[in-house]
C-alpha cells in the first residue's frame, strides 16, 4: 500500500442547519491525481476550505501525513506543505505577476526585521533566491514574459496559470486545484491536463482537483470522489464510476 498523504475521517461542516459536508471519509495516496466531482452545492469547495483551515470543521479529523490539521491557522497549514488555487481567481491584481509569486514565498523566506533594516547579506541572498525561484517557476509555466505585468491586467486563462504558479511557490507536497478548467475550451483543457501531469512530475506533487469538466476528470484522475448534497456518494477509478448507478442518478436523474 502506498503512503496516505491526506486523510479525512468523519468530517462534518455545518453552517447552522445546513450540512455543507456530512460525514466525509477518504484518503489520498501520495503521488495520485485525486478528483472530487459532484453537482453544484455538493460541498466540493467546502472540503478544500476545511483542509486549508478557512473553516474549522464541526466534527471529524483531517490529517496531513500524521499531523492533525483541524485547528491550525491557514498559513500554518500552507507552511506544512499544502497549497491551493481558487474557484474564482484570487490574485493580488494590483501587484505584478512576479510580486504575486514572491508573496507566496513568505513562510520560507528566512530573514527578520533586523535583516531588513540593516540590509544584511542574508536579506540580499534570500531576496535573490526567492526572485530566482519565482522566475524558474514562471519559466516552467511559460509565463516569464508576463513577469512585470499587473496580474489583474492578464487574460483569464493566464491568470489561472499564474495562480497555479503562485501556489507552487508555497513549496507544497499537496496541491489543491479548485475548478482549474472552468471556462476553458476543449483544446485548452487538453493543454491543462498535460500541464497538471507535468507539474506533478516536476514538483513531486499529490494533486486534488475539483472539476466539472469530464474531459479533465476522466483523463487524468486516478481516483475520484463523488459528492452529492454534502454526502459521499461513491469513490473509485473513472471506469468504475462510469457504470455506477448512484452516480448516474445524481448526474442524470432516475431512469424510470
Amino acid at each position: 500500500m502506498a503512503e496516505k498523504i491526506v486523510s479525512l475521517k468523519n468530517v462534518c461542516m455545518y453552517f447552522g442547519g445546513i450540512r455543507a459536508i456530512d460525514d466525509i471519509d477518504f484518503e489520498v495516496e501520495k503521488g495520485r491525481v485525486f478528483g472530487i466531482i459532484g453537482p453544484n452545492g455538493a460541498g466540493k469547495t467546502t472540503i478544500f476550505n476545511v483542509i486549508t483551515g478557512v473553516y474549522i470543521p464541526t466534527s471529524g479529523e483531517i490529517y496531513f501525513h500524521d499531523n492533525l490539521l483541524n485547528k491550525l491557522m491557514p498559513h500554518t497549514i500552507i507552511d506544512k506543505g499544502i497549497a491551493r488555487t481558487f474557484q474564482n481567481i484570487r490574485l493580488f491584481e494590483d501587484q505584478t505577476v512576479l510580486d504575486n509569486l514572491k508573496i507566496a514565498h513568505f513562510s520560507h523566506t528566512r530573514y527578520g526585521l533586523a535583516d531588513v533594516f540593516l540590509n544584511s547579506s542574508r536579506y540580499k541572498e534570500e531576496e535573490q533566491r526567492i526572485e530566482e525561484e519565482s522566475i524558474k517557476i514562471l519559466n516552467f509555466l511559460n509565463l516569464a514574459d508576463l513577469m512585470n505585468k499587473k496580474a489583474g491586467a492578464l487574460p483569464y486563462g493566464e491568470q489561472r496559470r499564474v495562480e497555479i504558479a503562485r501556489a507552487l511557490c508555497c513549496k507544497p507536497e499537496v496541491l489543491l486545484l479548485d475548478e482549474p478548467a472552468a471556462g476553458m475550451n476543449p483544446a485548452e483543457i487538453n493543454d491543462l491536463n498535460q500541464l497538471i501531469l507535468k507539474i506533478r512530475e516536476q514538483f513531486n506533487l499529490t494533486i486534488l482537483v475539483i472539476e466539472h469538466q469530464m474531459r479533465l476528470v476522466m483523463e487524468i484522475c486516478e481516483e475520484i470522489l463523488v459528492l452529492n448534497f454534502g454526502k459521499k456518494l461513491a469513490i473509485g477509478t473513472p471506469n468504475e464510476l462510469k457504470n455506477n448507478p448512484a452516480v448516474l442518478e445524481a448526474y442524470l436523474g432516475k431512469t424510470n
Binding site: H75, R90, F92, I103, Y111, L113, V116, E127
Partner: protein, 331 residues
Amino acid sequence: MTKKNYSTGKNEFLWQLAILLAITLTLIALKEMRLVSTSFLLILQYIGIYAILTLGINIVNGYLGVFSLAHAGFMAIGAYVSAYLSKYFFTDITMFAVSIMAGAIAALLVGILVAIPSFKTKGDYLAIITLGFSLIVQSLLQNARFVGASKGLNNIPKFTNIYWVFGCLLFAVFITNRFVRSKYGRSMQAIREDETASNLVSVDVRKIKTIAFALSAFLIGISGALIGHLLGYTSPSAYGFVNIVDGLVMVYLGGTGSIVGSIFGSAAWQLIVQLLKQLDTWRWVVGGILLIFVMVFLPKGVFGNMELDDLFRIIKEKINRKEPGRGIRNG
C-alpha cells in the same frame, strides 16, 4: 510597481550620499546663513514633522489598507512621554535622542495592543474602535494631574530644530523604504488586496498587522516627540479630532502607499493651511473643498502607490509612445 528589491548597487549608494549631502548643505544654508525668515523655517519644521506623521499613518492606512484613526493617540503618547522625560529627567539636549526614542517606543508598545482588534474587525468597525482609542488617550490625559491635566505640560525644553526634524525624517524615510520593499511590505500590500488569499499563500496575517501597527505607531510617536519640543508645550486638546482629520487629509492628498506622496501631502497641506490662515475659520471650508476636488479627480491621491522612479518611468513611457504611434499612422 516594479522594484529591484535587493540590489543596492554602488551607484545607488553614491546617489543617496549625494542627496544626503545636498539636504544637509541646504539646511545649514537656510538656518545658519538666515536665507529665509524664522517663520518660514518654522513652517519647514512643521512640514518635516508632519511628513513623519504622514509616513506613519500611511503604513497602516495606505500600505496595509486598514482604516485606522489611532494616530492622534499615538502622537499624544509620543509627545507626552518624551516631553515628561526631557522636562524632569533628561534636561540636557545631548539626551534629546533618548527622549525621542522613549516616546516612540512607548507609542510602539501601545501600537501592538491596538493591532489586536484589527485581527477580527474591518472597515467602519475598526475605524470606530481606533477612534475610541484616540479619544480615550485624550481624555486620560485631560484627567491625569501629573501631566498637567487639561492644561498639559508647559516649559518643555525647546530642543527641536531643523536638523533634528530632517534627521528624524530621513530616518523615517529610510525605515519605511526598507520595510515596504521587504517581504513584510509585500505581504502588507497583499493583505490590502485580499486578506484570505494572502493567508492561504502562507502569509501570517496577524504577525504582519502587528508589525505594521507597531512601526506606524513608532514613527507617529517620533513626530509627537518632535512637535512637543518644538512648541515648548503640549496639551490634550492638540490630539483630538482636528489632528485626526489633518493626518488623514495629508495621507489621502499625497497618496496612499507612497513615501514621496507622504512628504508631498504634508508639504502641500501645511503650505495650504499657512496660506489660508487669513481666512480664519473659513480655511476649513476652502481646505475641505480642495480635498473634495482631489478625491474626485485623483482618488488615490497625487502619488497613489507611486514613488518617484515609477513617475519617471511613466513619463518616459508616455514620451516614447508618441513616436511609434506616429510611425504607425504614416505606415
